[in-house]
Symmetry: C2
Subunit: 434 residues, 2 copies
Amino acid sequence: MANMEAQKIELVKSLLRRLHEEANVEELKREFKQVLSTVQPWEIPLIEQQLVKEGVPISEILKLCDLHVDLFREYLAGRELRGVPEGHPLDLLLKENELLLKLSEQLSVVAGALQSARNEELKPLFEQMKALLRSLRGIRTHYRKVQMLIFPYLERRGIVAIPRVLWGREDGVIVKLRALLKGVEGELPPSEVRLMAEEALKLAREVSELVFRENKILYPAVFALFSEGEWAAIAEEAEKIGYLVKPERKWEPRAEPLLPHQVDPQISGEAVEKLPPEFRETALLRLEPDAYQLKREGDLDLGTGFLTLGEVKGIFEALPVEVTFADASDRVRFYSDGRLPSVFVRTRTILGRRLLFCHPPRLERLVNETVEALKRGEANYREFWTRIGDRVVRVFISAVRDEEGNYLGAVEVVEDFTEALKNPEEVLKKVVVL
Amino acid sequence: MANMEAQKIELVKSLLRRLHEEANVEELKREFKQVLSTVQPWEIPLIEQQLVKEGVPISEILKLCDLHVDLFREYLAGRELRGVPEGHPLDLLLKENELLLKLSEQLSVVAGALQSARNEELKPLFEQMKALLRSLRGIRTHYRKVQMLIFPYLERRGIVAIPRVLWGREDGVIVKLRALLKGVEGELPPSEVRLMAEEALKLAREVSELVFRENKILYPAVFALFSEGEWAAIAEEAEKIGYLVKPERKWEPRAEPLLPHQVDPQISGEAVEKLPPEFRETALLRLEPDAYQLKREGDLDLGTGFLTLGEVKGIFEALPVEVTFADASDRVRFYSDGRLPSVFVRTRTILGRRLLFCHPPRLERLVNETVEALKRGEANYREFWTRIGDRVVRVFISAVRDEEGNYLGAVEVVEDFTEALKNPEEVLKKVVVL
């Protein structure tokens, strides 16, 4: 190890000692801020590895991960992101990244220790590594927001390569994490434990690299590009996915939400100016702004999209379930004429028929009780399993309500479950990783 | 047995002898038509039972079943039904009833023989009975047409009690047949075999009673009541259910199909005159014509029913599956925002997005291949099974096409199959008879 690095190690070690002795972390931070100015954030994990080798207790080093992220917050987020309001989607994504960075550093410390530990020391470290891997599972929630909320706005502007490359790397992290979580199950011999630790080290490195890439390149770029309305839509839709951190306050946008398909795909010169150079070069190389018009003449607005009447009909026919709908007055109003072999044949002569009259008298009470429970709001659905010939079938009766929760009717969804129930082993054999 | 009946038995026995000797059945029919005029159709099964007891071979008596139905065709169908055109739905229902009557008579003969047979004679008779019960399964197809095609037109006119009572009896036949088919499985001790035979006799009696009831009361009534347009609709819809007999020629109605909800529910005096007395009395006792208007202002016409836009939205939300649709240009146009916990979160930011960009680069080839296969018409759907966390999920990608078969897009239907696949035993325990 070079002299320069040896010096840094000594600096960090003294920091750790002080951290151990002093209660006042804030005081400590101020004091060491200047000292640490010679250390680059990406050097920290290397220094931590070195400390492990020198026998500094793991528990001490893990404390350092927190301090490191605290101290380098400004560097990590980048000056370009000054002015991100609290609770803004980018603010929360940055905070998620702080968490992910801490987790990946801790994983790196523990996995590094595992590699050099003696056989009898493996067990507690291995358990610690497993726990950290499990905590990292939440990363999917972080990436999903980037992939589903941020990328579509870039694609709209014709910036398609960067999202694809980033998603590829994020996907690599997920695939590696999934493999590791599976790999560490059960009791493993020491050689396997060390192999897993090696993989975990690679994973930790990739996670923190992606944190830097997002914080230093992606986020500054989208902060420059996206309008307040776009962030308003992102904030709204992000609620369905959720955050790994608890927002302290709700951000109140001053613009109406704007979805990608509503965005003018042209990028202004002013925005280009503000782009981080790494982003600008790649993104503007081959720009193909996307002028796709989602809403067409005569489209039906379904709240979560637009469909023509022909598409609605076609979708019902294409479903692997049979749908029959009776309205609030218990009259059959619609059934789907699916392409798959039908379980219960339905004919157009039942349109307008009383729901009760579509069943034998023996089932009248059951039908009545089910519909009444849905009407009273006691349940959103009732599920029945039955046999039709040699088929095992699920009959799912589900309440249809409007946006205010008023009862509009009941839909019966019939589905053939024979294969899954009679040959579950065969079906499970078909499971693939998607 | 009374003298009168003994005489009839002798008559039938001589008929049987002749049937055995002579090749010309037509000649025989003419000759015996007059002789048999003293025998009522419902006496035949009793006479047949008596012949079994007297030791006439079963195979001989079974021939009689066919002859009986042939000879009494006119009586069975009733004079009121003269003029039913060939291939007309009623013509085919009548022919189905001839078949069902023959089957029930044969069942009655075999089950009667079983009851009085010695233990060592049971086996072949029992096998014969099982085969007959299996042939009778088709009766469901007959009843379904009556229940789904005929009854709705009666209900529309306010005649609701008769369909309910008839369906109750038809349902009784189905339930009994189902129990018998289950009961006769495997090897049974003689006492059980005889019990089954007793049940089969009851079933046979009920089937033939329903044949008479339909032929003598229901069919003449609906023939008097329904217009040519109604029969045209019934003929059209019956094709989905199918017939037990092969129509020799297609009936060509001279009117446009008229569905129940399009029918004027008032019964004309002229039609009332033509109703069989048994039907008239019950039907007209408390008539509540049904003026339900199926099509409402602003309804969407889906071909198999009408829905408001709100109902379409509500139905998608109520489904136990997640639906996402991309159009023919591979753009996401719609996704359903279901009530159940989501498998794949979808947000409004993906509306208008390229389908390919909704997946990690790793899956691009798979997505492309799937969509191309659907576009080329090589497949109507592709099915994938995968794991999401601890859930096992089916991803069903199905082609959406218009009436001419043109590709409109692809719908992805995602469904959680975990319960069925991981605890099939638990699910199968919930199976009930519906």
